[in-house]
């Protein structure tokens, strides 16, 4: 676990006072391995360890800190900085605000659509969810079930298509005062331009305020490419990382923040409707570093 390996590095260093150039190199190497094993992207690991090394080399002769303390603090600070320091609130400014939920197959979009509606309901809004996945068997049944069980209004029609159902939802929202409109879409791969175009067309036709990429915390090195391709193609507002209740270190959170600079709004921490937490960078640093 990154938590185990990082604390091993820290134990090896703390209280050592001044350390040699070789020890610095060795420590940086161990940090590199720990981050890779946490599924942080290779390019991010490279940039990060380079920056930490520069930090340490500049201040090696400081009388206030030992190189060991600097390495540890520098790593923590850099990761926290990348993750965004503080939580970023998902702001709703339009009325009705349309939020598109997109992502790879099985990442947790349908579940998160309902969770996000529940979150807004608790915040005093009047959300509605839209079943716009016409591809996966029983996808519409799934969203309808979760929504009605939790008294969240849902717009659905098994014989429609994504354009028409969103149109219907917007009309209903204006009529009944729903806000926001959260749209569940079909899982799609980042390397298929044709399916990405479906989202593009929705954004051309409707006034979409937020496009959120739902991404699985367990994703490996491909996570960066997924975030980049989705962002380049359809312009994302930010991310939600799901399944953080597993024991994966979730290095993807760091990678996608570093590469795109876009906010990480929430994390999913379970299958219940209430299992959505606002993303707090400091908590995830601890997870990545211990």
């Amino acid at each position: 676990k990154l938590v185990d390996s990082f604390s091993k590095i820290v134990k090896g260093l703390s209280g050592k006072g001044k350390i040699s150039k070789e020890e610095i190199e060795q420590t940086i190497r161990e940090i590199r391995i720990a981050l890779l094993e946490a599924d942080v992207h290779l390019n991010v690991v490279r940039d990060l360890t380079l920056k930490i090394k520069e930090d340490v080399e500049k201040l090696e002769s400081s009388e206030f800190f030992t190189p060991s303390q600097l390495i540890i603090r520098s790593t923590r600070d850099k990761i926290l900085e990348i993750l965004g320091g503080e939580a970023t609130k998902l702001e709703i400014n339009k009325n009705p605000s349309i939020i598109l939920m997109v992502g790879l197959q099985g990442s947790g979009k349908t579940t998160t659509t309902a969770k996000l509606a529940y979150y807004f309901k608790e915040q005093g809004y009047n959300p509605v969810v839209v079943a716009a996945d016409f591809n996966r068997p029983a996808a519409i049944d799934q969203l309808v079930h979760i929504s009605t069980t939790n008294s969240i209004p849902v717009v659905f029609d098994k014989n429609s298509n994504s354009m028409n159902i969103v149109k219907k939802a917007v009309e209903e929202a204006k009529e009944k005062g729903y806000n926001p409109i959260i749209v569940d879409t079909a899982g799609r791969i980042h390397v298929d331009q044709e399916v990405l175009d479906e989202i593009k067309k929705l954004k051309e036709k409707f006034d979409v305020e937020h496009t959120i990429l739902v991404i699985d915390a367990m994703i490996g090195q491909e996570g960066v490419s997924v975030a980049q391709k989705f962002d380049e193609s359809i312009n994302l507002s930010g991310f939600i990382v799901t399944k953080m209740d597993g024991d994966t270190r979730g290095g993807v959170a760091l990678s996608i923040r570093y590469i795109t600079g876009k906010p990480l709004y929430f994390i999913g921490v379970g299958e219940k409707i209430t299992d959505l937490e606002v993303f707090h960078p400091d908590r995830v640093v601890s997870r990545i570093l211990g």
Partner: protein, 286 residues
């Protein structure tokens, strides 16, 4: 452009760096990557540098080639329990593609003219039963199901009952997705297996763990925990069309000794293949 290493007289140090990078970004993981590089560096010392590329491929293929027994009828799976259907239990963490895999596996056996029955053992998630029922109807094969919230083990037991009485060749049991670090959920899986064993101690013959090809190093921990709990007999890697990498498979085979038996490459019913190490390595190194 790693092909540049194919026919060079002297191997540049840059070649090893680039191979290492290629392996790491394919989720092969730090330890296995190191092992592969050092093994190859030793092998290359003794041989003609011109053959290095074949050496790389050969080493990677050998790491993936776990010998396992199968029978022709059910290849790559095996039914060594006479007078019983082949019972396949499908498990894994949430959203990896278990239910979809079952549909593909059912069709795979159907195309071999075998009879198949499905067990809707995910009695927990919204519309899980509806999702599997859709596939049963599409494939015109029987399905055993109860209401959402019913006992998963009971559904599994009933499915095998039906398979036995109707003389069906293959019974495939779906289970709910679960995080491997949730003890109560892992125990539930052990209970399902225990109940299945009431039919015959050697059932289920196959316990297939579904791993998502896009996942990173956590797949190894998943495999460890699921194997400790119910002794996984094989892995199916899904969503290969999303990434083509799935480098963690090297750890699954060489460190954990569990064979990869299937891969799926898309959402169509026929996007399933028995695992072919040479094909996989060729694509990985592309």
């Amino acid at each position: 452009d790693l092909i540049k290493g194919k026919n060079i007289e002297n191997i540049s140090p840059d070649f090893w760096e680039r191979l290492e990078e290629k392996l790491l970004v394919s989720d092969v993981g730090v330890n296995i990557t190191r092992h592969i590089i050092s093994t190859l560096q030793n092998a290359v010392k003794k041989k003609d540098p011109k053959l290095i590329w074949n050496e790389v491929e050969r080493e990677l293929v050998s790491l993936l080639s776990i010998p396992y027994s199968y029978d022709e009828k059910f290849f790559p799976l095996k039914n060594d329990v006479k007078d019983f259907p082949l019972v396949v239990m499908v498990v894994g963490v949430n959203g990896t593609g278990k239910t979809s895999f079952i549909a593909k596996l059912a069709n795979y056996y159907k195309e071999k003219n075998l009879s198949v029955i499905l067990g809707a053992g995910d009695t927990y998630r919204a519309a899980a039963i509806e999702q599997l029922t859709y596939w049963a109807e599409k494939l015109s094969i029987p399905i055993v199901k109860q209401n959402m919230g019913s006992d998963s083990a009971a559904v599994a037991f009933d499915t095998i009952n039906s398979a036995i009485s109707k003389k069906i060749d293959v019974a495939i049991i779906d289970t709910a997705g679960r995080m491997h670090n949730k003890n109560n959920l892992i125990q539930e899986l052990q209970k399902v297996e225990k109940v299945i064993k009431k039919h015959h101690i050697e059932l289920p013959q196959e316990k297939i763990l579904i791993l998502d090809a896009t996942y990173g190093q956590n797949s190894i921990q998943q495999t460890k925990i699921f194997t400790e709990a119910i002794n996984i007999t094989g892995v199916a890697v899904t969503k290969m069309d999303t990434t083509f990498k799935a480098g963690f498979v090297f750890s699954i085979t060489s460190s954990l000794g569990i064979p990869i038996k299937f891969m799926t490459f898309g959402e169509n019913i026929d996007d399933i293949q028995p695992f072919e190490p040479k094909e996989f390595v060729k694509n990985l190194l592309e």
